[in-house]
Symmetry: C2
DNA sequence: CTGAAAGCGCTTACAG
DNA sequence: CTGAAAGCGCTTACAG
């Protein structure tokens, strides 16, 4: 039983009240030129009187455009950076008149992925953002994937570059190199690394950057001073212990997340190691906490919202391209899909300023 | 120019190929009883052959149900807890067959709120989740708000209880009381508090809990030892300095977020205060970092995903109620919309175990 | 500038 | 068990 009050006000109701055709009402709500000012005014008043809100659903069905973007994530909101990325996307989407539809992927078999794609296609999203961290085998299908078989454009965030698929990502290899070079510039020569899970592209890239810097400095033996963590603090502490077993003279460590670096600082404090006198520590992320760690943590900043916004602009460009629509102002010009981390130096490498 | 390949396969195409009516195809995809096994089989094969995916849009338009829930947030994904809450919602929504449509509110005038409601109504969401932190005046409209004027049910997360609006929230007042009682149980008698922004309901409730515990202990004078922070670490440090000006003999502080507590620990370390010997510190959140702070932080855990899931179940109950539909299994029984924090005790109040 | 008709891709009574 | 018709609320050519 639907009460009369719940009855939706439609375009037809407005047309009847205004004494015009539905077509004319449609012209008014779509800001078409071909309406006399008086007619327009009258229609607008009727819209107000009735409290008419056009149904986006009906419009989507007839135009074939949903102004909705699908966002696929994989457990990521548990990480601050992913939350921040999502916030950046929501804001940018809002600015450009798009809504975001979220879908969380918990497993990565072909079935689950197909189900996700079906979900997005059923809801006719205009574009797709793959925003999960790149997890081992879960992304192999992307390698063979021809995005043109999809009815809508798709873009991948913070994953490895692939032939046909647009990607927006940080240059994590460069970041690893820069962090390591900083440690080298301090005169450190026994530089270890605690990585994120090697199933992650981001983690692997940073390892490569670290190795490149070591090779360039003529210290290939340091590549042995390696420990694989899981992004979380506990593995930072374990990593430090293990690295010192491998190399008792370890004098610096590049840690692939600020959270794990916290674990390193904690363990160092526990066993009485001085940071940075005994061991210099640099992280990556620039978490809000890092400035207040003991000692304050050197790290690398990433502008996550910028990455999110860049991804959205690029995706909307692709959508317009495919449909032959003009680009909206906010994404008129092409931009570089590669973003860069920047060094933030604090006491954990520099020591106390005097 | 749309290529033939892009032409959507519709129910009518399937019907033609299978030699049945659209109606029959509809029955098959909706698992209706009244189809002979042979017909069903033939239709299913045609669906497969053509790769038919029903349009959720068209279905939504004719049924009036979108199986989409609107989530309104306010800058919140910048906080880990909000990201985790969103993750909980996405997962629960998925389990129950709903999608989530996100909208970020950046200002709180009546216009912005109306625009948000319009957006949600245009897209015909089945229900609305107000998941922004409760910010001062931004929520006054909720006080006078009669949710029955909305075409869909709405639910508010982690905000103050209101007459007609369903709310799912932690008992933050209780949490403040319990944290303070813990400090009292250690024999502390000069117990300060660093709060979150007083524009936030959550922050105010915790202040009240702290005050209640002080009154019950006969220590009302401690209510003067108060500093308003902003959730971020820097205000923790500033708060500690200020509280010690007000009360040089301060021997404990209850801090309204683990992030601010980190600032307290940092400042204490800087000025040589011993934690907990000189000052016991307890936070609230149980952030992943807290266990690895120096010293490890006593705090209160909140099961944010549980709150998110509870909110979703309740909202879907309300949706079914309004439409006279039966409850889905996952939300068949009513549940308590009040959640509770739990103490997690570590060295910052207990000291080193021997 | 304005309107009548057909269509977007489904579902919902109503018949048979 | 199966189908023809009307409808969900818009927009898109096509006329006038």
């Amino acid at each position: 039983m639907v009460s009369m009050a719940d009855k939706r006000v439609t375009l037809a109701d407005v047309a009847k009240l205004a004494g015009v055709s539905k077509q004319t009402v449609s012209r008014v709500i779509n800001d078409s030129e071909h309406v006399t000012p008086e007619t327009r005014e009258r229609v607008l008043q009727c819209i107000n009187v009735l409290g008419f809100r056009p149904s986006a659903l009906a419009r989507q069905l007839s135009t074939g455009r949903s102004y909705t973007l699908g966002v696929v994530s994989c457990g990521g909101f548990g990480y601050l950076a992913t939350g921040v990325a999502y916030l950046g996307m929501v804001r940018q989407a809002d600015k450009m008149g798009y809504a975001l539809l979220s879908k969380e992927l918990t497993e990565f078999g072909p079935n689950a992925i197909q189900a996700m794609l079906d979900f997005m296609m059923e809801r006719q999203v205009d574009g797709l953002i793959w925003a999960g961290p790149e997890i081992g085998d879960s992304h192999v299908w992307l390698n063979e994937f021809d995005p043109s078989t999809l009815p809508m454009p798709m873009i991948v965030v913070n994953a490895s570059q692939r032939g046909l698929i647009d990607t927006v990502a940080f240059d994590n290899c460069e970041s690893g190199r820069i962090a390591t070079e900083h440690l080298l510039s301090l005169g450190r020569r026994k530089i270890g690394h605690i990585s994120g899970p090697m199933s992650r592209w981001v983690a692997r890239q940073r390892v490569i950057g670290w190795q490149q810097a070591l090779d360039a400095a003529g210290l290939p033996e340091c590549k042995e001073y390696f420990f694989e963590g899981d992004w979380e603090p506990a593995t930072g502490g374990r990593g430090l212990r293990r690295l010192r077993e491998i190399c008792p003279e370890l004098d610096a460590v590049f840690v692939s997340s600020d959270r794990m670096a916290l674990g390193v600082l904690h363990e160092a404090h526990r066993i009485g190691l001085r940071i940075p006198e005994d061991i210099a520590v640099i992280g990556i992320d620039n978490a809000p906490e890092s400035e207040f760690m003991i000692p304050p943590l050197s790290t690398m900043t990433q502008d996550t919202p910028a990455m999110a916004e860049c991804a959205l602009r690029l995706l909307i460009r692709r959508i317009c391209e495919r449909r032959g629509d003009p680009y909206p102002p906010l994404c008129a010009e092409a931009e570089d899909p590669i973003l860069h981390h920047e060094l933030v130096l604090r006491e954990s490498t520099l020591g106390v300023k005097r």
